[in-house]
Subunit: 364 residues, 2 copies
């Protein structure tokens, strides 16, 4: 098969990168300690603050979202007790990371099940000396959005720090870092922001600065980032092309307008959910009154009559990549990412192709 | 001034990125868990092994060289005693990182002075329970190449692990990871390999695997990298565009041939050193019988009659960026990087411009 370099990717990140950003990424190198970089970093930081709705300090790290999650935990926890809530793969990652730096109290749910606020409150009441709560806002492994504002409120009530993985929600969903009281929020470049993978950003509150530990990993040392930010630099050599790309990606977000962008994400996810229901298929998450279906990725139970591998392969033959399930959900669900700069036409074509594949198998 | 995006950068990294690589970097995204990525990762890994002259496991991390240095230390040291040798900024960074994970015994020299093998031997004899030695091979902050094979031999003699920062030597100098006995060697993408910044790679020996600690930082957990490498993947989302670029950059290295590439680096650095001597200027490093001037970056004392800022500014007006000194060497030295895919014509023009600037000031 000819490689046309023209694959429609509907993964929950990396997302397709539009031509404007692909042109920006191929700019020649500049001095990363010079004036041009400084201006770009300031522009990027300002845009991220607007998108995260925060006046907290924002830093861009040259690493993936997992690097950002670890930056948050490792700067706040050193032998301290931390509650890590999980109902999916990335919640599990928080538990893993937290266990490397402190005494982690895991609150685990079956993947795709909703987090119960009573459980959170119960653990917080029971555990003494808890320093922080960590939770994933939008759990892409199972297409569920967790109750971040409510858990943030509990953290605030008990004077705990709240770390929120907003990697796949910020820029595509209505995330209010300051209003909710998120002490460290993390976003990834290759999700709702529509840039390529390789960068993440963290927003750090005053409360978080006040309670930071000594000697986190050097590469993630937020104090070093703050010191360099004052000079319009990063402490370690930045991944320049990814900064060029993020700069352009954020310009696109600003042109679209954050509210319009959030509405578009909502609309695209609705299109997928409507089709799923019309076909008689079942969404994977089990909601309660404080959770909701993700507006950036939809997780669907694989119906009888076709396997996930077959479905993905047949869709791929039409030039479209969708995701399967991860870990123990492999073979049980498939996932359609609708984040970043995807347009209605992209979702229409994937739904059309899916319908034909499912029809041909007699599934719908 | 019009921004032509056409600046000749002679920094000790990031280096200019040639058009072939700039085209490769703007490829559309692919599934990072798919067949195409797997093939690319295998190709990259194989090329890096050839360039590092090693059969050890090689992994690419989506982070800068500092991330690679920390990956090496944090996977080997947990409360253990480690000797970190420094005669410059990046040696100091090893001391900083080592102190975050263990009991660091620093062996510090004035920046730019040579490391004395007797001192190393003396510390190794004196200190009990030493687990490892960490050293920078090519110290870009002061343009000196340290005696890596000799220090590796001492490490081997006392059964210590040897961690070598080859970030700015590998791909441009004759580095022999297996022959020397380097347990973890680190290389950066944006130096001699000629790719943009944002990736690093580590080569890990069997001896290193045997003595690895538990629970390093998740983002740098080499066991996780090994596990994923078996599937042709990375444990966390890779910075895809930088992999496309590195893949192309390594193809260029292979086309040039490693030996020819090393000779070219030697030749370009000689051109700079010859000019410096011709002008009566002084190289910064103070050599001994086991150190040498770097063949990838030249550090020069600023002569009377011009400041480093003036020199850099006047050179920049001609569209050329050279480096100053770092930390306490700011204002005392300037540095000319001649690494990556720079050609003789690039070095000729920077020398011509430098000569004119110095002549106009009556310095030469």
């Amino acid at each position: 098969m000819i490689d046309l370099e023209d694959e429609l990717i509907l993964l929950p990140g990396p997302v397709p990168v539009v031509p404007r950003i692909l042109r920006a990424i191929s700019r020649p190198m500049i001095n990363h300690r010079g004036e041009k970089f400084k201006e770009m970093l300031e522009r990027i930081t300002q845009a991220l603050k607007e998108i995260m709705r925060t006046e907290n300090d924002v830093f861009v790290l040259s690493g993936s979202g997992s690097c950002g999650m670890e930056a948050a935990i490792s700067n706040l926890i050193k032998g301290d007790k931390i509650l890590a809530i999980s109902n999916g793969k990335f919640g599990d990652r928080f538990i893993d990371i937290a266990g490397r730096y402190g005494d982690v109290i895991p609150l685990e749910y079956e993947w795709g099940r909703s987090i119960e606020l009573e459980d959170v409150r119960e653990v917080v009441e029971r555990e003494k000396d808890l320093k922080a709560i960590a939770m994933v806002h939008n759990e892409t492994s199972c297409g569920i959005t967790n109750p971040a504002p409510q858990v943030a409120a509990i953290a605030r009530e008990y004077d705990l720090l709240f770390v929120m993985d907003g990697i796949t929600s910020i820029g595509g969903m209505d995330v209010r870092v300051d209003e909710w009281g998120v002490d460290i929020a993390i976003v990834g470049s290759q999700k709702c922001l529509g840039a390529p993978p390789g960068l993440c950003a963290v927003a750090v509150s005053e409360r978080a600065w006040d309670r930071m530990v000594e000697s986190p990993p050097l590469y993630m040392d937020l104090r070093a980032y703050r010191k360099s930010a004052g000079k319009g630099q990063t402490p370690y050599t930045p991944a320049l092309p990814l900064f060029f790309a993020l700069d352009e990606a954020l310009a696109i977000v600003m042109e679209e307008g954050l509210d319009a962008r959030i509405r578009r994400h909502m609309h695209l996810a609705s299109m997928v959910r409507d089709a799923i229901r019309r076909w008689g298929l079942e969404l994977f998450p089990r909601l309660n009154e404080v959770s909701s279906y993700s507006n950036t990725v939809t997780a669907i139970k694989i119906p009888e009559g076709i396997t996930v591998d077959e479905l993905r392969r047949e869709v791929k033959q039409k030039g479209i990549t969708i995701a399967g399930g991860q870990e123990h959900l492999k073979g049980k669900i498939f996932r359609i990412g609708t984040m970043g700069n995807l347009q209605e036409k992209d979702v229409l074509v994937v739904l059309t192709v899916l319908e034909r594949v499912l029809e041909a198998r007699g599934v719908v």
